[in-house]
Symmetry: C2
Subunit: 234 residues, 2 copies
């Protein structure tokens, strides 16, 4: 069994029984000042689109998330450090594999792990995605949106950083994930208010400028009362 599950539409895979729905993983990694998503080359040169999302079928009795982790690891070599389901996509939009339904998962891997890339795959900045089949394009867009909306409930940024990090590194990661600049003082105030990080006694040595203190993720939390509503419609 060689090269199993690398390509999106390659039916030679681990499971004995092929389910009628695919699992597609949108794998993000920080690249430069932007997020990048992993795509794999289409085997079939007649395919209209030359790039595909990592995709496969779930084995019998294989949990959706387990399958998604396997697909992600097959695609980039390491397990993602965060993953969450985005939703199910069907609705006539064409999919490389000939399936009625595809379940999309958004996942992230740290930048260092993402570096190990073979030839048949490539990272694309999210602002310049390659031509994808319509359904996969919809899944990519939805995954990015889901990633950004879930950043305030899941420790996604922390899963992209080493265990110890400086507050500037954390802010840069937030900015990269959200795709917008953040205010330094407000960012640190909000951090302190939620007690999300704790200071260590280590300091960064390298580089110019004043040394930065290292922090670590420490999610002890108090709940907000939450008496308000947010109207963000349209």
């Amino acid at each position: 069994m060689r090269d199993r599950g690398i390509s999106s539409i390659n039916p030679t895979r681990a499971s004995s029984r092929r389910s009628s729905f695919s699992i597609d993983v949108i794998l993000f990694t920080p690249r430069g000042k932007q997020l990048a998503a992993l795509c794999v080359r289409a085997d079939d040169p007649r395919a209209r689109e030359r790039w595909l999302l990592p995709s496969d079928f779930a084995a019998s009795d294989e949990a959706l998330e387990t399958a998604a982790r396997r697909i992600a690891k097959d695609a980039c070599g390491v397990e993602p450090t965060w993953m969450e389901q985005v939703g199910a996509f069907g609705d006539g939009k064409r999919h490389p594999a000939d399936v009625d339904l595809s379940v999309a998962f958004a996942a992230v891997v740290p930048a260092d792990d993402a570096a190990a890339g073979r030839a048949e795959r490539a990272w694309f900045g999210v602002s310049e995605p390659p031509a994808l089949a319509p359904r996969q394009r919809a899944m990519l867009d939805a995954a990015l949106a889901a990633l950004r909306t879930r950043m305030d409930h899941a420790p996604i940024a922390f899963r992209l950083l080493p265990e110890m990090f400086t507050l500037s590194e954390l802010q840069v990661m937030y900015e990269l994930l959200l795709g917008k600049r953040l205010h330094k003082a407000s960012f640190r105030r909000a951090l302190q208010a939620t007690s999300l990080v704790e200071a260590t006694d280590e300091w960064r040595s390298e580089g110019r400028g004043r040394p930065a203190q290292f922090f670590r993720f420490s999610p002890r939390k108090r709940r907000g009362t939450g008496r308000g509503v947010r109207f963000d419609l349209l």
Copy 2:
């Protein structure tokens, strides 16, 4: 073709080809001071759970959302006024229909429309749900959570009210959907700030107390800059 699609696991349905995944609809309606979800009686008396979520299979080439609307209408008689996909559920948790995968949709119908109930179905307050199969129970919980988190992006409360409504009615609807009390002055300030409603020249006549002005939904909007982050983890 009689009684088609009423029961969750009844395979006598409209589509010619049975897909391998089910579509399950969690249909909410305001009932008293609480949200209620619609369940249907299990046909099979040997079933461990006596209640099921409205569920069916998608026809070939039937869009997911179209199928979900059909299932909702079959279950309660009218089309839901708002609906959104919650996600795909599998993962070994047992489902009444013997399918690997189920796609959950959250939907709402106004209280008046929901009144027309036949014997084989019932509304259950979300705080006292009936015994459901594990996967359907998970879908119900997820649907309620999704409904509440999406309230600030979708006009769900407005879809549960008549075209003209008072601000007190709107606030009560928000409180019912969110499951918590809101502050009157802040609620109205936030409404005014977003220009979500516009006043009409009609006033409520019935009832005691000072008459209330009627408003209508008018979603002209300006975008917020959104320079901040929200840390709500854990």
